[in-house]
Symmetry: C2
Subunit: 145 residues, 2 copies
């Protein structure tokens, strides 16, 4: 399961994607519409800003907005920044890789290979989904066999 923080980040970005090109959206609005605790959301938005996903405008009529087009933000990127490693065991991770103490030959270890393949499948899948895909109702029903 993703952390609440990671989940909130995704929902906040989807909310902004839905209103792309409609001007800044207030923190309060996002918090209410997405059922996210306001103060918690503030912290997440600042992180999203530092990561280059969103920008903000202060004062009246201010709020947050997406910097890039929804099509250019995929779920792997979001997940990477707000959640731990994708691999299920340390030696199967890429970014957070740790050598396995149990192995003499890690390159022949079936346990590692198995978990590594699962990790890669997951990464590819998440990378293939962007925010625009998530806006359309029934996207999957319409695009899957």
């Amino acid at each position: 399961m993703l952390s609440k923080k990671a989940q909130y980040a995704i929902y906040a970005l989807v909310n902004l994607a839905r209103k792309y090109n409609e001007g800044p959206v207030q923190i309060k609005t996002i918090a209410e519409e997405e059922h996210i605790p306001r103060k918690f959301l503030e912290a997440i938005l600042i992180e999203l800003k530092n990561l280059g996903f969103v920008n903000s405008k202060k004062g009246k009529g201010g709020g947050y907005y997406l910097i890039n087009h929804p099509e250019d933000i995929n779920l792997l990127t979001i997940t990477r920044n707000f959640n731990g490693p994708l691999g299920l065991i340390p030696c199967a991770c890429v970014v957070s890789y740790e050598r396995c103490e149990r192995c003499t030959d890690e390159d022949a270890c079936s346990i590692k290979m198995m978990f590594r393949e699962l990790r890669d499948t997951t990464a590819d899948y998440l990378e293939g989904i962007n925010l625009a895909n998530l806006l359309e109702d029934n996207y999957f029903l319409n695009n899957n066999p």
Copy 2:
């Protein structure tokens, strides 16, 4: 990432699978070979026993052993019992499903569909791997295109 507990459970079971039909294996032996803290391993083995994966024999020459053939224990079953939900968001879970507060029509929600498909892929993958598969070096090199 799986919890240490879940990882240890998998490595302990693989250790027992490697010695299937060779009589009971002592806690101490498994702990040393798999680099698992002994007392922690004790607790995990008791849980594995209650779940019906292993049995134990007391006294001299005692230890733990697998009840079923390694081929009959898949990784989905192990993971389910020692780690949280497979789905990345609550509404995409099966066992730990929670209704989404954001949705009016969950059946048309692309976010849910996406995470649900990923969950199902992961579950199918884990279910397809059994302990016997993990014993053979290079299993994946030999069986994947």
